[in-house]
Symmetry: C2
Subunit: 116 residues, 2 copies
């Protein structure tokens, strides 16, 4: 298989899902389904409100997730992987699987070197 000249443009598309938190957010939505803002935050140790909001907005702009606001007090907002977002499943699954294996490998490799 030869590389298409449009490969360069693929990079563009990829930037959509390679924010610092995007893969994890998407992975959560994929696995857990619809999630509230606070639920996502709870499951993403270390992310700030600002960042979570920002990443979600970007994903929403790309029509990868959908945002449902309940007009009530206190507010309630749910995020769901859109139909189009579902098409990311192969990538997300592959990432998850590889990431898990990679961590296992790294742990094994570091058995002999325990510094600091």
């Amino acid at each position: 298989m030869k590389l298409e000249p449009n490969l360069c443009k693929v990079e563009d598309a990829l930037n959509i899902i390679v924010g610092k938190w995007k893969p994890i957010i998407l992975l959560h939505l994929l696995k857990e389904g619809t999630q509230r803002f606070s639920e996502l935050q709870k499951h993403l140790p270390g992310i700030t409100q600002r960042m979570l909001t920002k990443q979600l907005r970007e994903l929403e702009d790309e029509e990868i997730i959908t945002r449902k606001v309940y007009a009530q007090v206190p507010p309630k907002v749910e995020y769901t992987l859109s139909e189009y977002g579902q098409t990311l499943q192969p990538i997300l699954e592959a990432m998850h699987e590889w990431g898990t294996k990679h961590n296992a490998r790294k742990k094994k490799n570091s058995l002999s070197s325990s510094f600091e």
Copy 2:
């Protein structure tokens, strides 16, 4: 399928392949096989020497690619996807496929809106 608690750590692993140029570089090495520095540069419109060097070093540090230097003048350096790097194939393929489809979709969507 439930999310493992180690999902958070997967993020770490993902950072290895989500540099601005890394997916494209890896895609090239995967598809084209061994490539020289200059070949990679030629195929990556816009990347600077500095960046290419840096990205390659990082990938090398992660043992995803191997670097073979020929002791000769002029210098010749070849980069190849390592055996371990091959395990990224599923992700890379998935990314390439999705990226291509995404571009097609985007083009279609922008047919009706021609502003600016």
